[in-house]
């Protein structure tokens, strides 16, 4: 199918985007670990109750902060994104999506106790399957894993991936150790084999301060400097040779913002020319590796104010294959239907809405 003229599309859908888009980042909310009870064994059912293990929401995402709940997507009660009816109405139907990928942000991934992390991640994956995927055919999900024990994470991926509606593996941008490290390779081995990209989502497990100068006072600062965590992960995955070892692996940077990347490409490639002897397995310019292996979701789109600069920016990336449509529902980055950045050329719209996601997530192709 050829590029669709944007004005034509706009006539078709009130949202201004083409019917059948693929939303690569929405957030179903787990209200309480009590919802996980059916998916836990007796020991953990009892422990959750007698120790009151609950409220493990990530500090990175206070659900009532403006950034994380768009006013018209805020339910009267409970957390935004906790009710499937609202998710259908607000996103799936409203944007007439073909698919939406559900990324559950709950603190299981940040647990210090590896068994609590594993058991809650496993339960969340089963909960996603039963409470979300079974209830709407358009939904797809990411497998959440705890990185405390990568072998166990690989087993969990293997187990859940048998369900083809799970299309990616989800980890947080700021964890205990950088993701390129060899200890995590069992995860990449299985992900590559099973056609699952690794989705790195904004958020911190607080094993380290967000910045080299410690902890910022404000949530808004934490959110801005998330790009440092993403930058570090891109560098680490390349430097440690993850793509030399797993050439089929793709990594999706989710809720990362996008405009920080060209400067990283430039500097990383420049330094590689002088520092290559340190990492001889990096045989291509890092910018080329980024274009081949990394993808970025659209929202929050940290765009230049002048729409005319959009195209300049795209040129700096050197490709238009890297961007994937996302609403980041129920987070609040745009109002009404202004989900696509101003200045985006019509030729790019369809790529971002459909083609790039399909190329990134092989499991979506099976179903389309």
């Amino acid at each position: 199918m050829s590029a669709v003229d944007q004005t034509e599309v706009a006539q078709r859908l009130p949202s201004g985007i083409e019917r059948g888009a693929i939303d690569c980042d929405i957030h179903p909310a787990l209200s309480s670990t009590k919802e996980l009870r059916p998916f836990l064994d007796e020991h953990w059912q009892e422990m959750l109750a007698v120790r009151n293990i609950d409220g493990l929401d990530l500090t990175s995402f206070p659900p009532k902060a403006d950034l994380f709940s768009r006013p018209d997507w805020r339910p009267k009660q409970g957390k935004p994104g906790s009710e499937i009816g609202a998710v259908k109405a607000d996103v799936l139907d409203h944007f007439d999506l073909k698919f939406a990928i559900a990324n559950c942000l709950y603190g299981a991934q940040a647990a210090y106790n590896e068994y609590i992390g594993e058991v809650l991640c496993r339960a969340i994956n089963d909960w996603l399957s039963k409470e979300w995927l079974d209830k709407d055919k358009r939904l797809r999900a990411s497998i959440v894993v705890s990185l405390a024990n990568p072998e166990a994470a690989a087993e969990e991926i293997e187990r859940v991936a048998a369900d083809r509606r799970f299309v990616q593996v989800l980890v947080l941008a700021m964890g205990e150790a950088l993701l390129g490290r060899k200890q995590f390779w069992p995860i990449y081995r299985v992900a590559e084999r099973l056609n699952l990209p690794i989705g790195i989502h904004a958020g911190s497990t607080y094993r380290h301060a967000h910045s080299q100068a410690g902890f910022h006072s404000h949530l808004v600062e934490d959110y801005v400097v998330q790009s440092q965590g993403f930058t570090a992960q891109v560098l680490s995955l390349i430097a440690e040779g993850v793509f030399a070892k797993f050439p089929g692996l793709r990594v999706v940077l989710i809720e990362s913002g996008v405009t920080w990347m060209p400067a990283l490409m430039w500097r990383a490639t420049k330094n590689w020319r002088g520092a290559r002897i340190e990492i001889p397995w990096v045989r291509q310019a890092p910018a080329a590796i980024m274009r081949e292996h990394f993808r970025l979701t659209l929202q929050p789109f940290d765009a230049p104010p002048d729409p005319a600069d959009f195209e300049r920016l795209m040129e700096h990336f050197g490709t238009d294959e890297m961007f994937l449509f996302s609403t980041d529902y129920p987070h609040w980055h745009f109002d009404g239907d202004d989900v696509l950045p101003a200045g985006m050329p019509a030729s790019l719209v369809r790529k971002i809405l459909v083609d790039n996601p399909l190329k990134t997530y092989p499991r979506l192709v099976e179903a389309s």
Binding site: V50, R51, N52, I53, D54, G55, L56, D57, L58, T59, S60, P62, K64, A65, D66, G107, A110, A111, Y112, N113, E114, I116, A148, E176, S204, T205, Y206, R207, A209, G214, F215, H216, S217, H218, L219
Partner: protein, 369 residues
């Protein structure tokens, strides 16, 4: 193997001594119960953001071993969490164990650890007002602790100056685990104010600082973390001594709360040994570290160490110093101590008396405040 004997009280009820409890944790009935003490801006902030410490899961990263960290029988019939109902606290604790004075140490919400400095100061202020309005003004046996946002020494001093005038407050509440070692100069204005108003620093175990509780990283379980927190206290007081806090403020009183006791003599020996080798690095110290320990620092007893041979605890008391020990219950927490069962029955009455109330009376000077 013999059957474990029924627990025996150290003293029969009739001859019971007065008890001063240096660590009682009052709780808000609900998160919104603090609202009346906050400006509107901060009420909304509390609702939308909550406390943002340097922690991934809003203080729940190490799920506690019991709900609300509390003993199972401490949930009031009136609803609300343990420690939230004054009448129930009177009945279950103050009256039942004969508390003459009880020192409140409010833990949550913690303005001490909040990253937004203005909000942190506002929460501390609110917690102080709440202690007076809902506790000390209703119950004269209870005394309050001045919560301060210690990372902001200037705001802390302001809060101390404001609250120290009220007889309700008997100490300044700090955690030993701050963003930087607690003895560093940036915190000295707080100690200066403490001396000026003759208020001890109540150094309660804890601190949610983003720095792992061990020097080798983050422990996995609540049990490890519970223990490792006490090492934070050891590091804290060692640092205060070595940085020269007590040289500058010889009259400063520090009460170490909820850190246990068995480590104290070992720490003293270590500090003295290394000090003898590395004195050149801390030339400002006028005497050995253990002498500052005996001069400026007191210890609450809970969680009471339980040696295999129960009577060995007497050696621990001896090494810390009979005049340095202050009874604390940690009510209503799960690891609390009951004054009737925490001490060996053979303890001489005068010594027990010192621990249960006289030492605390000397440190806090309740009557003269």
């Amino acid at each position: 193997m013999s059957v474990i004997e029924e627990a025996k009280a150290a003293q029969p009820a009739k001859t019971r001594l007065k008890v001063i409890d240096c660590d009682i944790h009052p709780a808000l009935r609900s998160a919104s119960a603090l609202a009346p003490y906050l400006a509107k801006q901060w009420q909304e902030h509390l609702r939308d953001f909550g406390i943002r410490a340097r922690d991934p899961l809003n203080g729940r990263a190490y799920p506690p071993i019991t709900p609300a960290l509390s003993r199972q029988d401490s949930w009031p019939e009136s609803g609300g969490p343990p420690g939230s109902d004054l009448n129930f606290m009177r009945k279950q604790h103050l009256d039942a164990v004969g508390v003459e004075y009880g020192v409140l140490q409010p833990l949550n919400p913690s303005g001490r650890e909040e990253r937004n400095p203005d909000f942190g100061a506002a929460v501390c202020r609110a917690m102080n007002e709440w202690q007076v309005a809902e506790w000390t003004s209703q119950e004269t046996r209870l005394k309050a602790s001045i919560c301060v946002p210690a990372e902001d020494a200037e705001a802390s001093v302001e809060e101390i100056a404001l609250q120290a005038k009220r007889r309700d407050f008997v100490q300044i509440f700090m955690n030993p685990r701050l963003r930087e070692p607690i003895g560093l100069r940036r915190y000295w204005p707080i100690y200066e104010a403490a001396v000026e108003y003759d208020l001890p620093i109540g150094l309660h175990v804890g601190g949610n600082t983003g720095i792992p509780t061990t020097a080798s990283g983050w422990p996995s379980t609540y049990g490890e973390n519970h223990f490792d927190q006490s090492t934070g206290l050891q590091v804290g007081i060692a640092n205060m001594i070595l940085e020269g806090v007590f040289v500058k403020f010889p009259k400063l009183k520090v009460v170490v709360v909820e850190g246990g006791l068995a480590w104290v003599s070992g720490l003293c020996a270590h500090l003295d040994y290394y000090w003898s080798r590395l004195r050149q690095e801390v030339p400002h110290l006028n005497m050995s570290p253990s002498e500052y320990m005996k001069q400026n620092i007191w210890f609450t007893t809970q969680p009471m160490d339980e040696p295999e041979n129960r009577l060995d605890i007497v050696d621990v008391f001896e090494s810390v110093g009979w005049d340095r020990l202050l009874f604390s219950s940690d009510y209503p927490h799960w690891d609390g101590d009951d004054p009737n069962f925490a001490f060996p029955a053979t303890l001489p009455k005068a010594k027990l008396h010192a621990i249960l109330c006289e030492n605390a009376r000397n440190v806090y000077r309740f009557e003269t405040r």
